[in-house]
């Protein structure tokens, strides 16, 4: 306990905690919709795009890589969600293609252009977010906070529309809901969340942050509202717990959070099974 109190004296630990909880909140809000729309892997695909863009930004010596990474990721998110309906390359194949392609190109660029002596260390940090959450600056914390508030606000304002478009896109379109517009909004929001989340868990583990809370909540709850609220609670508490554990035990932040999420999934599966037995 004393050790924790000591650690929280440091601003970077407090920053990590704030950003971690905010990211967990945003990613779980979208997770439910993404899982139900069969887009679980879009988080993976987009995070690799963000990885590629980060490599390019590093090679170009950009001081603030947000400026390049965010627009590129948003563009890819729009392309991927748009191809979902009718395209030459179908949804999952398009995601796989972009995901692997940008990962490879990103690594290539890092290798060719990087001046750093420890390339594999850099790559590991970007992919697994091992240290970057502890090197956040106050500006990055504010930026993450503002983006998180924006994401949450967009979700709340469009909550019912997102529900309708997820449940039955044809019906929504037929009755005059602009389903395409809401898909576009979703794509932009997902891209924003993923770019923020890269700082926390790294590119490879973002999918876990997006899908695990949603899947856990869906084991135990049966209405859209309950599943959404529950997945937010699960995600936030798993992230907070994961960060605490990683501070005390000295484990990598991203993978510790994901491990806690996995434990949460099994716990909720058990709860779901038990409640079904009782009924």
């Amino acid at each position: 306990m004393n050790k924790l109190a000591l650690y929280f004296e440091y601003p970077f630990v407090r920053y990590a905690m704030i950003v971690g909880v905010l990211i967990a909140l945003c990613s779980s809000l979208l997770g439910v919709t993404l899982v139900l729309k069969r887009f679980s892997f879009i988080g993976d695909g987009l995070s690799h795009v963000a990885f590629g863009a980060t490599a390019v930004a590093a090679a170009m010596r950009l001081t603030n890589n947000f400026l390049l990474v965010l627009p590129v990721t948003i563009l890819c998110a729009i392309l991927l969600l748009r191809t979902g309906q009718n395209a030459m390359i179908k949804g999952d194949a398009a995601i796989a293609m972009i995901s692997v392609g940008t990962l490879a190109v990103g690594y290539l660029i890092m290798n060719v252009f990087s001046k750093s002596a420890n390339i594999s260390g850099d790559v590991c940090a970007t992919l697994f977010g091992s240290t970057s959450i502890l090197t956040l600056t106050a500006t990055e914390v504010w930026l993450s906070a503002v983006l998180s508030v924006a994401v949450t606000a967009v979700f709340l304002v469009f909550y019912h529309k997102i529900f309708a478009v997820t449940f039955d896109e044809d019906f929504a379109t037929a009755t005059g809901i602009k389903a395409k517009l809401y898909n576009l909004i979703l794509a932009v929001v997902i891209a924003v969340v993923i770019v923020i989340a890269m700082n926390l868990v790294g590119a490879l583990l973002i999918s876990a942050l997006v899908i695990f809370p949603a899947l856990s909540a869906m084991r135990a709850f049966k209405t859209f509202k309950a599943v959404t609220v529950c997945s937010v609670l699960i995600s936030v508490s798993c992230a907070a717990l994961g960060i605490l554990i990683s501070i005390v035990a000295g484990t990598p932040v991203g993978s510790t959070i994901v491990a806690v999420d996995i434990a949460g999934f099994f716990a909720f599966s058990a709860i779901g099974l038990i409640t079904r037995r009782i009924n």
């Binding site: 449940f167 049966k222 209405t223 859209f224 309950a226």
Partner: protein
């Protein structure tokens, strides 16, 4: 003035024509059944009527106080809905969304409308139940209640009895007939020619790339009997 009027419609996708030369009117209070073989273009026609697809040529005109987004729709079930966590109330209320405009939440009247439609279709007691755990007939009723929240004027139904057992099928058809009796225009796709002839006021029979028949039910029966048909009896 008809509520929906199709003028010389040609339907198809990727340059292939499925059906051409479709012209028919749907008036207030009609009960139109669209029958035809699989692949004859029934579902494409319905999607075109809903503006989900654009016709290759020809046009669809709405009139008699119906706006193009005031058409209720009962789609076939999709794979996504089979494991979707949503209560019946959430599903039914989502039919009110086209009344909301930019307002993010449902008004009291819209909530009231959803409750009334659930009561009307006999699923009020299921309001808190999970949609995916209902029987096929109950799910169809929930989707029908949702469609009624979107409009009272005209409903398009895509095989409403698909996958239902005989009793639920019968109940579904009676329910649709009751809604039609209360003044809602019905346009229904069906495989079930016997039921179509029993309940419909008009029949549109498409096949072989064009409309084989459009007109009142009595003419359809006479035509088929004189051709030696009559398998629907």
């Amino acid at each position: 003035m008809p509520q929906l009027s199709c003028q010389n419609l040609t339907l198809g996708y990727e340059g292939k024509t499925i059906v051409s030369g479709l012209s028919f009117d749907i008036n207030a209070g009609d009960y139109l059944c669209i029958v035809g073989e699989n692949g004859s273009g029934k579902s494409t026609l319905m999607k075109t009527l809903l503006h989900l697809k654009t016709p290759a040529s020809g046009q669809i005109v709405t009139g008699d106080g119906v706006k193009s987004n005031e058409i209720g729709y009962l789609p076939q079930q999709t794979a996504v809905q089979k494991d979707f966590p949503a209560s019946v109330r959430e599903v039914v209320r989502s039919g009110c969304l086209n009344r909301c405009g930019l307002r993010p939440f449902y008004s009291r009247q819209e909530k009231q409308l959803a409750e009334e439609n659930m009561a009307k279709l006999g699923i009020f007691s299921l309001a808190k139940r999970c949609y995916r755990e209902l029987s096929g007939g109950q799910q169809q009723r929930a989707l029908l209640a949702r469609a009624l929240c979107a409009t009272r004027k005209i409903l398009l139904l895509d095989e409403p009895a698909a996958g239902l057992d005989p009793k639920a099928t019968e109940e579904m058809y009676e329910l649709i007939a009751r809604l039609n009796g209360e003044g809602t225009t019905i346009v229904m796709i069906s495989h079930d020619v016997a039921a179509s002839v029993k309940y419909a006021s008009h029949i549109l029979h498409i096949g072989g790339g064009s409309a084989l028949f459009f007109g009142p039910k009595s003419d359809y029966i006479r035509k088929n009997v004189s051709c030696g048909g009559g398998t629907y009896e």
